[in-house]
């Protein structure tokens, strides 16, 4: 057998297939971005427009400089929320529209691996945009950072991302059942979440139970903890202690990722039974 035949006749199964599926689904998200850099421009420009607007509002109100930093951080983190909404939650709906979803389900791979690949690719690609927004915002508005604990900051960020993308995976399976309303539902989940999660102001200023309820969105606690860790006066704006928020994020990360597996299996079965896998309700 020649080397080419040998390479392509080898069948991956089990964990090897699972991992290869993750890499295969993450690949277009990361490499595709390098091939079409104009995406980066738009996905940096859109959050930057919001950042600039809110920074100027704070400047007009003569707010302390810390608030400018909060807006820059919120703008950077909004890239992750938009990515989860449009490229995770809605993704299976788009795949259905373009006819790929049936192929995913027919192929001998795990749908969970496809979702994990989407999450991994989306996370890495969006991280580049978030870093760009942070650098641009910091440079334009003179934001300075004073990190009190690199380890805690890294833990908070990673746990928030795992929980957030786990939530995205849960939502992706739910969106499988949607038709034309998918676009509207994703669209609806932008501003209300920006408000409830305190993207542009400390969440502490919302009524306690509203803030506590919004804490089920991982970015709420993630940003609250990050604000406390990277701004000199950040601790006075914290809703809970950083330690408590790390524990809560860890629980959410496990629960959301595990739930997404069960939800996906259930919804996939439901969608197959109701004939919604190939249905395109325009």
């Amino acid at each position: 057998m020649n080397p080419v035949s040998a390479k392509y006749s080898r069948k991956d199964t089990g964990w090897r297939l699972f991992l290869r599926t993750i890499v295969a689904r993450a690949y277009p998200r990361i490499i595709g971005q390098q091939r079409e850099m104009s995406w980066v421009i738009f996905e940096v420009v859109m959050p930057m427009l919001a950042v600039i607007s809110y920074v100027f509002v704070y400047r007009a109100l003569e707010a302390p400089q810390d608030y400018i930093g909060f807006v820059v951080m919120g703008g950077a983190m909004s890239a992750f929320w938009l990515n989860v909404l449009w490229s995770m939650s809605s993704q299976l709906y788009w795949e259905k529209e373009t006819g790929n979803l049936a192929l995913y389900i027919m192929a001998p791979n795990s749908m969970m691996a496809i979702l994990l690949g989407m999450a991994l690719g989306g996370l890495l690609a969006t991280a580049l945009r978030a870093v760009t927004v942070t650098l641009l915002g910091s440079f334009m508005f003179g934001v300075t950072y004073e990190i009190s604990s690199f380890f805690q900051l890294f833990s908070v960020f990673m746990l928030a991302m795992i929980a957030l993308y786990g939530m995205g995976m849960m939502m992706a399976s739910t969106f499988l059942l949607f038709g034309r309303e998918a676009w509207h539902v994703a669209n609806l989940a932008q501003e209300p979440v920006f408000l409830a999660s305190g993207f542009f102001f400390p969440i502490k200023f919302l009524p306690f139970w509203v803030a506590a309820g919004a804490s089920f969105i991982p970015l709420t606690l993630g940003m609250d903890a990050m604000r406390q860790l990277i701004f000199s006066g950040g601790f006075q704006f914290g809703l809970f202690s950083v330690q408590a928020e790390i524990y809560a994020l860890a629980v959410m990360a496990v629960v959301f990722v595990a739930s997404s597996k069960f939800l996906l299996a259930y919804v996939e079965k439901l969608a197959v039974r109701e004939g919604r896998i190939t249905e395109s309700r325009r």
């Binding site: 079409e36 104009s38 995406w39 738009f42 420009v45 859109m46 427009l49 919001a50 600039i52 607007s53 809110y54 100027f56 509002v57 704070y58 400047r59 007009a60 109100l61 003569e62 707010a63 608030y67 373009t98 038709g179 034309r180 309303e181 509207h184 669209n187 609806l188 932008q190 501003e191 209300p192 920006f194 408000l195 993207f199 542009f200 102001f201 400390p202 200023f205 919302l206 325009r282």
Partner: protein, 284 residues
Amino acid sequence: MQISTSWRSFRMAAWLGWMIESNWTDPFLFAVYSIIKPLSGAAILVIMYGVITKGNYDSNLFPYIYLGNAFYIYVAAVMTGVSWAVVDDREHYKTLKYMYIAPIYIPIYLLGRGIARFITGSIAVFITLAAGILFLNVNVQLAEVNWILFIVSLILGILMLAMLGLLLAGVTLITARHEGFLGEATAGALYIFSGAVFPLSVLPDWLRPIGYWMPTTYWLELMRRSLIGNVANAYPTLASLGNLQILGILLGLSILFGTLSIFVFRICDRIARERGMIDMTTNY
């Protein structure tokens, strides 16, 4: 161009747009959807303002920000309502080519498609204003409102925004990628340069002239002044100009941008036909 054909194009496009915008769910959910999004946007600003001023909503600054933001809903709704019709018909429903061969006028058809978002935008503006007046002490006294200025400015502004939407629709016709972002990016940029929620004086000196060239700057100022006369004193950017002067500037800029829009749309339309972009589907 026959008036009957234009009217038919407009009327059918408006009806079609309304069906597309509204019939994806039941009326109650649609109403909730139309209200929550703009109210959330307004609430972000209200909380930001409240946090910094420690809840002092009696200042003239607050209605300046609140009213500017409320009426800005029209900018995004009307502009993107017109331009998004190109994306919707070409990429999603794949019907734009049929519209082109139907006995209708395409620019009028696109303007008609914007009506649906104008209606939903109007509901959102009304709800946002009502919430501000009822719960946030935005001091609009109905008896003191300059209704003539309000109505004239509103009509002129909506027409101006529709024409800007047509300009965007033209650019969308010849754009293969990111066309969906064009409306949002333009609306986002205008939010900054129009002094919607902060005065132009906050912008760096070199950016400020852009704001003075934007018709939306004058339109928002007129909307504020018509509802609350003394709000102009909150930020003195345009305080030296009287209502009629601002209305004159708005009219002049509207005519300028309207003419430019027709010109740009015609050019883009011709390019799109020449390059076979009317039925282009990129799935991008």
